[in-house]
């Protein structure tokens, strides 16, 4: 069916138009390209409200804390000075997927945002494995409502200052409140007892006196854990504090939990920025072009959309003014476009590098990539030599022992593999965060806690570490020992916080 009449003309929008665009976009996104999305909830907000939403890290509700006020002030200042335009949208990983559209946007921009957020991001949230594993989209809003109410009750009972101190301490450890692997569910006490009874019963039935005559190996006898160790090192420091800190009271544990939950909620987002934005950008580009081909939007619409689009995917060189690192929109968009290209028009190089997708249908290939990767693995898998050339990527090595920086590899035949690996490492969360784990807890002695910092490639902690460990010590309530070990496990230094 070929429409010849565009859905609207001019920059003005109204609710009816938004609805019509949404339907047209849905028809393309879901009907033609088969994107799998949560239901959408599109909310129109004013720019001040957008600033608000920014400050509370993109969640519509949050507990009160001064740091959000600080964020808000930063955003407000930047906006006021015109240093930064507002994002056109914010989208929340929830079910239904909530997208904020700003009232100042023109109709073409609203169309762009609907395609980008309500179908691009939305399908990513629903499809990507990290989001599927780690966030319960249907309950985050409810949880935040609970958190906010709980926190304000705590403030009433224990005073704003006490609650604030608690959050200050927890926020410094925000990055260390994430569980990366699912654990089996903890058994309740009744279940545990039942299991023990079952085992005892099994032992009784299988009891054979003859086994008790076997000699006992004396080495096995004293298998008790040495004092001051935990069963296994814990990387989720906040979780450990919440469960085992000897001094905290109930509400304090709950606050640790709230911070932890939020950290966990944002955990996948931090690791899929390139993919997520790339995916959404790819889809708004593809969907709106399709609308244009169908004659549903006119030239002026498309020109405005493309103007914003090109701004968004702008990548400056490292030595240009305004360079702010690799632009996740640019890289992600280029990669998804490139996968499509490899599928549709592979060159010999592509066939050599990507034998499994070159020349296959592009939709399933893209879908597979979206579902099963995070930034790190996505780049390692899909960054093609062509893109490395297009972006003129090169790697610089900064080694402590050298008085100079060295160009490690560039965008040439010899360098593709290495540049790709290094770029992928750059998106690896483990490389970004220092490796600190709880390694010991002297339960029967002085109750001190040992934190092990495994130093990697001689990269030390920054100066702030002392403040953070001071907070940690306050949360723990007893001495905290920071033990620095090198890659081979040799202890380099000890530091006591008390």
């Amino acid at each position: 069916m070929k429409h010849t009449e565009p859905l609207s003309k001019g920059p003005d929008w109204n609710f009816e138009l938004i609805d019509r665009y949404d339907q047209a976009i849905r028809e393309v996104a879901v009907g033609e390209f088969g994107l799998d999305c949560y239901p959408n909830q599109i909310e129109i907000i004013a720019s001040e409200q957008m600033l608000d939403a920014y400050a509370s890290v993109g969640l519509p509700i949050s507990y009160p804390h001064w740091s959000f006020g600080k964020q808000f002030i930063i955003q407000q200042e930047a906006y006021r000075k015109g240093a930064q335009g507002l994002a056109y949208e914010i989208v929340i990983n929830s079910d239904p997927c909530i997208a904020y559209l700003m009232e100042e946007n023109s109709m073409p921009l609203q169309g762009l945002v609907i395609a980008h957020a309500c179908y691009g991001h939305n399908s990513f949230f629903k499809g990507n494995y990290l989001f599927r594993q780690w966030t319960s989209a249907d309950s985050i809003i409810d949880y935040m409502v609970f958190a906010r109410n709980y926190v304000s009750r705590c403030e009433e009972r224990y005073g704003i200052q006490a609650v604030e101190d608690m959050f200050d301490a927890c926020h410094t450890l925000r990055d260390y409140g994430v569980s990366r692997y699912h654990r089996p569910r903890q058994l309740s006490i009744t279940e545990e007892l039942a299991r023990q009874r079952e085992r005892a019963e099994y032992d009784r039935l299988r009891h054979d006196e003859i086994w008790s005559t076997l000699p006992v190996n004396p080495a096995d006898q004293n298998q008790q854990m040495p004092a001051g160790s935990v069963e296994e090192p814990q990387e989720n420091i906040l979780y450990f504090l919440e469960k085992f800190s000897p001094k905290l009271s109930g509400w304090q544990r709950e606050i640790i939990r709230i911070v932890r939950k939020m950290g966990q909620y944002f955990y996948p987002q931090g690791q899929t920025q390139v993919m997520n934005e790339g995916w959404a950008t790819f889809w708004h580009y593809t969907i709106l072009n399709r609308l244009y081909d169908k004659g549903l939007v006119d030239d002026s619409f498309m020109i405005e959309v493309l103007a914003s689009h090109t701004n968004v995917i702008m990548q400056r060189g490292f030595d240009e003014r305004g360079y702010g690192g690799l632009n996740p929109y640019a890289l992600g968009f280029a990669m998804f476009m490139d996968i499509r290209r490899i599928c549709e028009e592979p060159t010999d190089e592509d066939r050599h590098w990507f034998p499994d997708i070159a020349g296959t249908p592009w939709l399933p290939a893209l879908d597979f990539a979206m579902r099963n990767y995070k930034d790190e693995s996505f780049i390692r898998q899909y960054l093609s030599p062509k893109l490395i050339r297009d972006f003129h990527l090169f790697a610089i090595a900064d080694y402590e022992d050298n008085a100079y920086l060295e160009v490690d590899s560039i965008h040439n035949e010899a360098g593709y593999q290495r540049v790709r690996r290094l770029l992928s490492d750059q998106y690896n969360r483990d490389g970004q965060l220092p490796d600190l784990q709880v390694s010991g807890f002297d339960q029967d002695g002085d109750r001190s806690l040992t934190i092990q910092h495994r130093i990697h490639r001689y990269r030390p902690l920054s100066d702030e570490a002392d403040t953070v460990l001071g907070h940690l010590q306050r949360l723990w309530g007893f001495d905290v020992k920071l033990e620095t070990i090198d890659d081979s496990g040799v202890t380099l230094s000890d530091k006591l916080y008390s």
Partner: protein, 419 residues
């Protein structure tokens, strides 16, 4: 199907509470920054609020991260001239890189943000208050002001509300016509039926009558008219005038003028927190007084003797001329080094007490002593004898005295309230 919701009417300032918390947390630092601003600005400019700079270190949120040093590689876009193996000089500052900071404002070492005028004033005058006595008088009602108060059925044509009137007329027309119209409809329905069966007759007279009745209902009637109603409500006085009197004779040096300027600034700010409009009148005097603009007031030199009375007389003239005491809240601040000669101090005191004090809300005499040792000046010792709750005096010697003295004069202290 997507749900579309208009949230524009929801709360706009969700983060106001968080912002307030931020302010509370850093109140000490912010207040210090605000006090520093007094030195840099002119009186008028102080009103607008302004940028506050805090050291970034103070407001940072510490996190665990890698410090400088160790081995690492970075991948960057936009290579033009490098080849593998090239060596580069390490940039100064110990290898920045990795996206270059979080971009908090414009400076790496300071966190700048803007205070609204209100916040600025509140911080500045934290718990100061106009003396209780005066505040009561501020509430005195001297003037009336029209205010909207719904609609009435009588009024002047200029106040006619067309929309209301038409709405009223429409309602009336529907009400008056409906009975006749209903009957007419009935008859017409009957008529149609009869046409089909071709028997019976129609009461033409009744139809005519009904039609006439409907027609007679006027489009607009007197009773439809609605007028916007305005009532006169008492209007609290919202304007104040502030007289700055200063002795500019030779003995007032730059330092003393600067002290005086700071005091005037504070007073002006303080008043503009309370009143919608604050006029300032600058009167300088040596042995005679003249009214000047701010620039001249603070910067121009004029030499001569000292006759305080001249300034007071000029002030009374200006009041009589332009600021009727029943319409203006009058405040005055006089700054002087206290030198006065002959009969002048005594006559000034008399004039002030009898002529001026009854007109003003508050009269502050500030003696700027410079660095001289404490001694009671001639003027001060004469003024000392004034017994009037509208009059205060204080003496300042250094910059840092100004604010405390000002606070002392205006502290909301119930003990100072004169019944």
């Amino acid at each position: 199907m997507s749900i579309i919701i208009d949230r524009r009417l929801n709360d706009r300032n969700k983060n106001a509470a968080n912002r307030a918390r931020f302010m509370r947390r850093y109140k000490a630092q912010i207040k210090r920054a605000v006090s520093d601003m007094v030195a840099e600005r002119s009186i008028e400019k102080m009103r607008g609020g302004g940028d506050v700079k805090l050291p970034a270190r103070d407001v940072s949120e510490p996190k665990l991260r890698h410090g400088t040093g160790g081995d690492r590689e970075m991948v960057l876009p936009g290579n033009r001239e490098f080849n593998a193996g090239d060596r580069l000089k390490r940039p100064p500052g110990g290898g920045e890189g990795e996206g270059g900071g979080e971009g908090g404002g414009d400076g790496e070492d300071s966190f700048t943000f803007t205070l609204s005028r209100e916040e600025f004033m509140n911080l500045f005058f934290d718990d100061l208050e106009l003396p209780h006595l005066v505040r009561n008088q501020v509430g005195d009602i001297k003037e009336l002001r029209p205010q909207r108060a719904g609609f009435t059925s009588q009024g002047s044509p200029t106040n006619l509300s067309v929309v209301r009137t038409m709405r009223q007329a429409l309602g009336r027309r529907i009400a008056l016509r409906s009975a006749a119209q209903r009957r007419l409809d009935e008859i017409e329905a009957l008529q149609e039926e009869n046409e089909q069966t071709d028997d019976g007759w129609i009461d033409d007279a009744e139809v005519q009558l009904l039609r006439q009745r409907i027609k007679r209902v006027p489009f607009l009637d007197d009773i439809d008219l609605r007028f916007r109603n305005r009532v006169m409500v008492p209007k609290p006085m919202s304007q104040a005038v502030m007289f700055c009197l200063m002795d500019v004779s030779a003995s007032m040096d730059e330092h003393r003028k600067d002290l005086a300027k700071r005091f005037y600034t504070l007073l002006h700010l303080f008043l503009s927190r309370k009143y919608e409009r604050v006029d300032i009148v600058f009167i300088r005097h040596t042995d005679d007084a003249d009214e000047v603009d701010e620039q001249t007031f603070f910067n121009d030199r004029k030499t001569g003797g000292t006759v305080v009375l001249s300034a007071l007389e000029l002030m009374r003239e200006v009041i009589a001329d332009r600021y009727a005491p029943d319409q203006w809240n009058i405040y005055a601040a006089q700054a002087s080094d206290g030198d006065a000669f002959g009969a002048d101090p005594e006559r000034s005191r008399g004039f002030l007490e009898e002529q001026l004090l009854p007109l003003v809300r508050y009269y502050a005499y500030i003696e700027v002593n410079g660095f001289e040792p404490v001694r009671r000046s001639t003027l001060a010792s004469t003024y000392q004898r004034i017994e009037n709750s509208h009059f205060v005096m204080a003496s300042v010697r250094e910059h840092r005295d100004i604010y405390p003295v000002f606070r002392e004069l205006f502290t909301a202290d119930p003990a100072r309230v004169v019944p």
